[in-house]
Amino acid sequence: MTVTEAPSRRKLSTAKAMVEGIAQEMERDPSVFLLGEDVGSYGGIFSSTTGLLDRFGPQRVMDTPISETGFIGAAIGAAVEGMRPIAELMFADFFGVCMDQIYNHMAKIHFESGGNVKVPMVITTAVGGGYSDGAQHSQCLWGTFAHLPGMKVVVPSTPADAKGLMISAIRDDNPVVYMFHKGVMGLPWMAKNPRSVAPVPEEEYEVPIGKASVVRQGRDVSIVTLSLSVHHALDVADELAGDGIECEVVDLRSLVPMDTDTILESVARTGRLVVVDEDYLSFGLSGEVVARVAERDPSVLKAPPARVAVPDVPIPYARSLEYAVLPTHARIRAAVEEMVGA
């Protein structure tokens, strides 16, 4: 029997793409190693490290005790001594037990040392809700990390970006917080977004940190967003196209640095801005995007901007309540329709 090689547009889930990026870097650079809770034989609670233990052994894929201050601090120490650790904080919600190591140490050492000490490490962490995991396991919180200077913050939405951003994050000489939404990972036990499995190049490649992506072009309104909300925005854009409304969708891909130019160029084309953010509304990403547009050139706006975010309430447990506060397809659509006067 002849087996025909599949075309190169091989499809992977976001989780597998992320793991492939880690594995290729571990092959390339012996200083890369991984540590965290259940990253070994379990393979990461959200499949972020599946298969790595078998491939690289317990010296380079280290299961840790439930001890985030300890192991994230240890990653910092290893990084300043020239290694490139990837430390997984199982849920971003858990940062409260280890934030000191993150923002007082990891993010400040380079600055405090006047540039003499580098901390080349990655923190990976799962974010986001939508599956009734409650107020302590469903937050995004990227605005909090992005607010504190000294760490880059990347948030992929697609498998290809997940791999390329991971490789960039590992190679970066700065600390990078890599936040992956559970809803984009393509996990078999979670309602699957159809775009969570998509073509991913096999070779190593970098997706530059700090460059947004215009994932759909349109003339009427710019939806600026990231992570799972990109997929909601694309769904809304597909629907509204039938009604003659053309949405441009901008995937930020990183909060720090933020690609203000791409946002501005998009809003200049469409004249209208809807920011969609699964993090809390106040003092966060959505306000930041609006502020940057307003500061740079408010004249590009034909209408007041709109924000669709979590309205400053802890994420509720009951499905009906949770979906009332998440930036759902329906809320995004309503915001766009109101803005274009449809």
């Binding site: 300890g70 300043v80 140490h105 380079h110 600055f111 405090e112 006047g114 000294g150 700065n174």
Partner: protein, 324 residues
């Protein structure tokens, strides 16, 4: 103990004390008549280590610049004993452009990668990074070790316990050092923990724990030697607590009204005690003392002059070094 080792320990303690006295003088010189913490050539909080010299001198005598030290918000004695560049350290304390951090760090945030020295203003939080440095050393198959220093108040922090657990679990070459100066700012040890010796906490992590009771540099040197040799031999971490002495306030400007032990403090100054011991053994006389102080004075004055001659950082450069 070898006479030369004792002489070297003495020289180091004198250098540290001379430095701290100079910083004390410079710090207060321009804060009179009204104390303003942010004013003057050395602005901000200042935590001096007078009285704790035996710990730094005794421990660091066993280290080379390839070994790592993470110290606390009271870092000068360990920085000096571990060989941090004295001029650039002083310039950093003065907030000058030639400082270790080009004026970004200040006295609680000294980083000298040449000797793997760092310190932190957050209690107990230098412990986990030391574990990571030790992990890196272990992976590189060296005999380098990491020394993590805290005060006794830090032994009640989570980071302390997490670090001890990890280091023991992974059998890492770390020596955890606790400087018990009896006071966590104004709260005595007796009001903050139920154990009279933090060394017993080592047992909870299956590592040796030893407490040196009398702030003797020779006793510290001996105990640290054992712990460090064990770490270098790949036998894992140890905990060493030294009952030391905070001779001055928690920070400069601290009136210490809360202290109940001040009356006896001058008599416990470890430097005259060590001098008496060296004299009794015929290893030190007036000339020797004078020579040691002059050598120290020269180095300290040179460092202070270097710092004062270094310019203030350009305001326009304030945003530099956030990212590499």
């Amino acid at each position: 103990m070898e006479p030369q080792v004792r002489a070297d320990l003495y020289d180091m303690m004198v250098l540290i004390r001379t430095f701290e006295e100079a910083i004390l003088r410079e710090y207060h010189a321009d804060k009179k008549p009204v104390f303003d913490i942010g004013a003057g050539a050395i602005p901000g909080e200042m935590h001096l280590s007078a009285g704790q010299e035996p710990v730094a001198a005794g421990v660091c005598a066993h280290l080379t610049g390839d070994d790592a030290v993470t110290a606390t918000h009271r870092p000068h004695h360990f920085a000096i004993a571990h060989g941090v560049d004295l001029r650039r350290m002083t310039a950093e304390i003065f907030g000058r452009v030639d400082g270790l951090g080009k004026g970004r760090g200040g006295h609680m945030h000294l980083f000298d990668p040449n000797v793997h020295f760092s310190c932190s203003g957050i209690i107990a939080e230098g412990y986990p990074p030391a574990v990571g440095q030790a992990l890196a050393f272990q992976r590189k198959s060296t005999d380098r070790i990491a020394v993590a220093v805290t005060g006794e108040g830090a032994a009640n922090q989570g980071g302390f316990h997490e670090a001890l657990n990890l280091a023991s679990l992974w059998k890492l070459p770390v020596v955890f050092v606790i400087e018990d100066n009896d006071w966590g700012i104004s709260v005595p040890r007796s009001a903050s923990t139920c154990v009279t010796s933090n060394a017993v906490r080592a047992a909870g992590y299956d590592m040796p724990g030893e407490r040196v009771e009398d702030n003797s540099v020779e006793a510290v040197h001996e105990a640290a030697g054992k712990a460090i040799a064990r770490a270098r031999a790949g036998e894992g971490p140890s905990l060493l607590e030294v009952h030391t002495l905070r001779l001055w306030g928690h920070f400069e400007g601290d009136a210490q009204a809360y202290r109940t032990d001040l009356e006896g403090v001058p008599g416990r100054d470890p430097i005259p005690t060590f001098e008496a011991s060296l004299r009794a053994d015929g290893l030190l006389d007036d000339d020797g003392m004078r020579a040691a102080r002059e050598r120290a004075q020269q180095r300290v004055e040179d460092a202070i002059a270097f710092a004062k001659n270094s310019p203030q950082p350009e305001p326009a450069s304030a945003l530099e070094y956030v990212f590499a």
